[in-house]
Symmetry: none
Subunit: 264 residues, 2 copies
């Protein structure tokens, strides 16, 4: 590594402290992944996570399109599912332009940047979730997220290239720090002995509840089951549960069904 | 022109009133001009001016890269010099990342957006000047401009693709106008057929859950019962439940305990 490369890396590392991960779900084109890497490094983001990239990985076209942002590509990590890619994160924003039939907090770029900065300042690992180029995120992936990030654009022509979408959201984060003010977003006050639940713990709660609801017949209508599952995950996701509360809720579920098991 | 195309065009025209022209000086690649057109229309900009495009004009690669922003390309005007391209404008910002050895006002995106909005409100035609991909604007072109617009980026990796540069500056302009329409803080988007639960409905849910938890023994420790009840109410209260979700959760509780009752 040359001296120039070293100082570039140092600058990026300094910026990247507390920076959100960028999670691309099923990206279609290697070229777009490269443009995402370039846009990320422009904004001081370095943690790239790829869920099932269609053209495989590594990818030569990604390297060409990254225009020198190789270190972001080199450090990219591969995952088999969105759940696995965000398991260690506590606050995840799903980027989507389309309204979803879910009850979910929706943030514009400044509010999203403030929320990400505030979470990072509290030591919480955060992430931004992007869907495939043609379709965007599906409802199940949106349901996993803590909130939705929407970039308001010309309503007559709002479709953004994937790299452009990463740039606009990444820049909002970068500019919020460059401005020097970590805006005080809604802070969550919690007891000292606990911490925000991560996505892996939340998923454990969801699956525990869904298994019991399958067992008692609440989810027996197979046609409405997927939207029912999404709605339940959404409402618990909005509550910003602590790790302690996840354990409490699992205890609640177990207690409610326990008597039944004992007696059956 | 179809009805959809017409309404798209109307929306863009409404946005474009007072919008700055985008002037590309000696752009090298047709593909980049297409990406610029797309980024412009995303942000409600429609006045594209080309100064000596290297590959000539019109350009098929520009059309392919514009992803439907054809009307911007169709209306693009060709000029032989930067002076001619900006002759009718009264306020022009030169976009450049590099410091120039000139005494010149330098604006970041929010200040530039405010200046452009203020000039447009006063009836002044404005423009944004972008240099060729590899070199950026030369000093003579910068000298023509009223001020310099610099987008602060990662100092270790600040080189932006031309389309990306137009997007970031165009979005700053767009967002400055849209700020009134777009809720600043977190909006909760919910399906039309529901509404936020009221406190009476929430209390009904809490008491239903607490009665069942008393019954199954979860709240049997009388010393910790009050704080446990508060914690559970808190976590559901944070979720900002809809009336529909309250009914769903009461159904979940009933289903989980139902089998037990049936069997006991």
């Amino acid at each position: 590594m040359s001296g120039t490369d070293r100082s570039r890396a140092d600058a990026a590392d300094a910026l990247a402290r507390g920076a959100p991960a960028v999670v691309l779900v099923a990206p279609q084109l290697g070229e777009n992944i490269g443009m995402v890497a370039r846009a990320m490094l422009n904004c001081g983001l370095t943690d790239l996570r790829l869920v099932r990239p269609r053209e495989g990985w590594p990818n030569d076209k990604a390297v060409a399109a990254a225009s020198g942002a190789d270190r972001v590509l080199d450090a990219a990590r591969l995952y088999g599912s969105t759940e696995a890619a965000i398991a260690d994160l506590t606050y995840v924003l799903a980027t989507t332009a389309r309204p979803r039939y879910m009850t979910k907090e929706v943030l514009g770029p400044p509010a999203a940047a403030a929320a990400l900065r505030a979470r990072a300042a509290a030591g919480e690992p955060c992430g931004l979730l992007f869907g495939p180029e043609a379709m965007g995120l599906d409802n199940d992936d949106v349901a996993l997220a803590s909130a939705v990030l929407t970039v308001p654009l010309n309503p007559g022509f709002s479709s953004l290239n994937l790299g452009m979408a990463v740039l606009l959201t990444g820049y909002a984060w970068y500019a919020a720090g460059a401005a020097g003010d970590v805006a005080a977003a809604a802070d969550l006050i919690m007891p000292e002995q606990t911490r925000p639940a991560n996505q892996g713990e939340l998923l454990g709660l969801y699956q525990h509840l869904e298994a019991e609801l399958d067992s008692c017949g609440f989810l027996r209508n197979l046609q409405s089951r997927p939207s029912m599952v999404r709605n339940l995950r959404n409402l618990f996701g909005r509550a910003r549960l602590t790790e302690q509360e996840v354990r409490t809720l699992r205890g609640v579920i177990t207690c409610l069904v326990e008597g039944r098991r004992k007696r059956s």
